[in-house]
């Protein structure tokens, strides 16, 4: 089950690389949220109920439902197609594939550093790293603010996967704080994003370059 979901997640990453329409990003985010929920569910089946509810909130409510809707709300008018960066079309797909291969290599190399149930952890690990790197790659490759937000969320997903993989034993309210942080940062980014739209009619970040030396 977990393996299947991980494969799915990685496929979604490849798909992210070739997205043309901003809308499809949002659906993709929702999909990833659901996948993450599935993974979390598989991981924490036998844990206590509070943890479960928390995960539920974090993944389904927040990642899968709130964020996509929020984003589609703030970008509803006239932003359909994002400005793709210097690396276009299938090249970017090739890149993200390469990144995924690299992260597989990483997972393989670090396999024996991992302790108990290394095999499963290695898979999570691979997915997480590839997600973070792909997120960074997208952010670097695109000049569009929405895409930047998306890439941030992808990186956050990767980190969530990492936390699953490493089964980190953070205290409850630290998790809460983390969730809150992500939440607020997305919120504030959204707000600024709106202001940005008012200021510079479209959302090409190359306009945000008056501060430089």
């Amino acid at each position: 089950m977990a393996n299947f979901l991980i494969i799915l997640f990685i496929m979604s990453l490849i798909y992210v690389a070739k997205v043309e329409m901003v809308k499809s990003y949002f659906s993709l985010m929702a999909v990833q949220g659901i996948i993450l929920f599935g993974l979390a569910y598989v991981e924490l089946k036998e844990n206590e109920i509070v943890q479960l509810i928390f995960i539920l909130v974090e993944t389904l409510i927040f990642k899968a439902i709130f964020v996509p809707i929020f984003l589609s709300r703030i970008t509803k008018d006239k932003i359909h197609r994002h400005h793709s960066g210097p690396i276009k079309g299938y090249y970017s797909v090739l890149f993200s594939t390469a990144i995924i291969v690299i992260s597989f290599l990483c997972g393989y190399m670090l396999h024996d550093e991992l302790g108990t149930d290394a095999d499963l952890q290695a898979k999570y690990f691979t997915a997480a790293i590839s997600s973070i790197l792909v997120g960074l790659f997208i952010a670097i490759n695109n000049r569009d603010l929405v895409t930047h937000l998306i890439s941030y969320l992808i990186i956050e997903n990767g980190i969530f996967l990492l936390s699953l993989a490493l089964g980190s034993s953070m205290p409850m309210f630290v998790n809460a704080a983390i969730l809150l942080d992500i939440f607020t940062s997305v919120l504030i980014m959204g707000i600024f994003f709106n202001k940005m739209k008012d200021y510079f009619q479209n959302t090409d970040s190359s306009q945000l370059s008056q501060l430089k030396d």
Partner: protein, 475 residues
């Protein structure tokens, strides 16, 4: 318990400050908050070295930085009062700014006092949010851009840092199921798997570099200090820098008794030298005074890391340097806001013969210049001397020469611009004399004179507290 109530009060006060639109009450709240910090400070002095509760404790380093925070916050809020009287600021902007100040300060207090890596991370994120509010103060396109960049890059950096924390968790989990408090990690650090510790530290340095304003994430930090009002720039380059340093320091200290110590030192050294190089390049290049000061903060952070990575007396030098840099750089940024009032420009070719226009301010700028280029009587001379001492003690000859060269270039760049501002007669300068207020300059002068005092007379209290702060590090 008092600590929790402090954080609670922070939240309440910042909310009230946000909703109250009356100017006087607003500033009153800020000052009241500073008073509250004073109370907490007294409480902390009683509990040095003791855990305050499960997630917080107060060590000497935290205390030192706490009092610097107190001082800088006090001064900057006073300056903000002056600031709003000179600019016509909308009440809602002002109240948001005060709320942000309180929130930001509270977050930094959390960073300084926590004893838990997770919470450290959480408060770091909080500082980002608070800072972004402060940066957005001017509501110009510049500030908007700076805020966006700062927020975005910081969030990614913070995310990477969190990945680092998770690696630490992985390492801990392999030993036995442990919590993330400094003491626990330090006690078991020798058993932890060095690979994960390295991964953790690498990601932490990368993520928090944005707070210290170092390579690889320095860019947005510079922009933020440029586009925000000067007193915000002051706190960003003094207290936030300290916070970033203490964050890295916590991890370093926890791992410092393991086999990866040399590796960590090398990593910090590389980071420091890269940052020094870029700061030198840009100080030679920039035209904008605030950006120049931002780059000089970057330079000093780099020097701190270089000294710190040498170990031994370098630890002492690093912390001493941070203390003094916070005071000097804060006062310089405050002075910049006055210059901006007088000349209505941040470009150095439009600012000239400042000593003639505003003698006291000119003196402040001159002394500040002497301080940041580590000329006596500035104490930075002492800390840089110690830095070179530690470099030579480790036989890092080439690094010493490189650092010397870079520092000379930086001094050249700073001198050309700052002394030009102080003395040169610039034709393109348009002067509005009513911006001159000696009151502010006197405050800044006091800050600089503290640094001179430290440099000349070696105050015992500071020496002892630094020594006790670094005693847990390997000698």
């Amino acid at each position: 318990m008092l600590l929790y109530s402090f954080f609670g009060l922070t939240a309440i006060l910042s909310l009230t400050a946000y909703f109250v639109k009356s100017r006087n009450i607003n500033h009153g709240i800020t000052l009241a908050y500073v008073g509250l910090m004073g109370v907490l400070g007294y409480y902390l002095t009683q509990h040095v070295g003791k855990p305050l509760n499960i997630f917080f404790y107060c060590d000497t380093l935290g205390l030192i930085f706490y009092f610097i925070l107190l001082l800088v916050t006090l001064v900057s809020s006073i300056h903000y009062i002056k600031f709003v009287t000179f600019r016509d600021i909308k009440p809602n902007v002002e109240s948001l700014h005060n709320a942000g100040t309180i929130f930001f300060t509270g977050a930094i207090v959390g960073v300084l006092l926590t004893s838990h890596f997770g919470i450290l991370w959480a408060f770091m994120e909080a500082t980002t949010l608070g800072a972004s509010i402060l940066i957005y103060h001017n509501r110009t396109s510049e500030s908007l851009e700076a805020t966006w960049k700062y927020l975005f890059i910081c969030s990614i950096g913070i995310a990477l840092a969190f990945a680092g924390v998770l690696f630490l968790g992985l390492a801990g989990q392999q030993v036995r199921n442990i919590d993330f408090s400094f003491s626990t990690i330090r006690s078991v650090s020798t058993e932890l798997n060095p690979v994960w510790l390295k991964a953790c530290f690498l990601l932490i340095v990368t993520g928090f570099s944005v707070k210290l304003g170092l390579v690889p994430l320095f860019n947005v930090d510079i922009d933020a200090k440029d586009a925000s009002p000067s007193q915000v720039g002051a706190s960003l380059s003094s207290v936030l820098m300290n916070a970033g340093f203490i964050a890295i320091y916590r991890f370093y200290e926890a791992f410092s008794h393991t086999s990866i110590l040399p590796w960590m030192n090398k990593l910090l050294m590389i980071t420091g030298i890269l940052s020094l190089f870029f700061s030198a390049v840009y100080i030679l290049k920039v035209k904008n005074v605030k950006r120049m000061f931002a780059y000089s903060s970057m330079e000093h952070a780099a020097l701190v890391l270089i000294a710190f990575s040498c170990g031994g007396i370098g630890y002492f030098a690093a912390i001493l340097h941070l203390i003094m840099h916070s005071l000097v750089k804060a006062s310089l940024f405050f002075q910049v806001s006055q210059m901006h009032r007088i000349y209505d420009s941040k470009l150095d070719e439009k600012i000239g013969s400042y000593l003639r226009v505003n003698p006291l301010g000119g003196i402040v700028l001159l002394l500040g210049f002497l301080s940041i280029i580590a000329m006596p009587p500035s104490g930075m001379l002492i800390s840089e001397l110690m830095m070179f001492q530690s470099l030579i003690a480790n036989n890092y000859w080439w690094i010493a020469i490189l650092v010397l060269l870079m520092v000379l270039l930086i001094i050249y760049g700073l001198a050309i611009k700052m002394l030009g501002i102080v003395f040169l007669k610039k034709s393109s300068a348009s002067i509005n004399i009513r911006g001159v207020t000696n009151f502010e300059s006197v405050i800044q002068l006091v800050l600089i004179i503290i640094v001179f005092y430290i440099g000349l007379f070696r105050p015992e209290i500071i020496v002892q507290s630094i020594n006790s702060a670094i005693q847990s590090l390997p000698s």
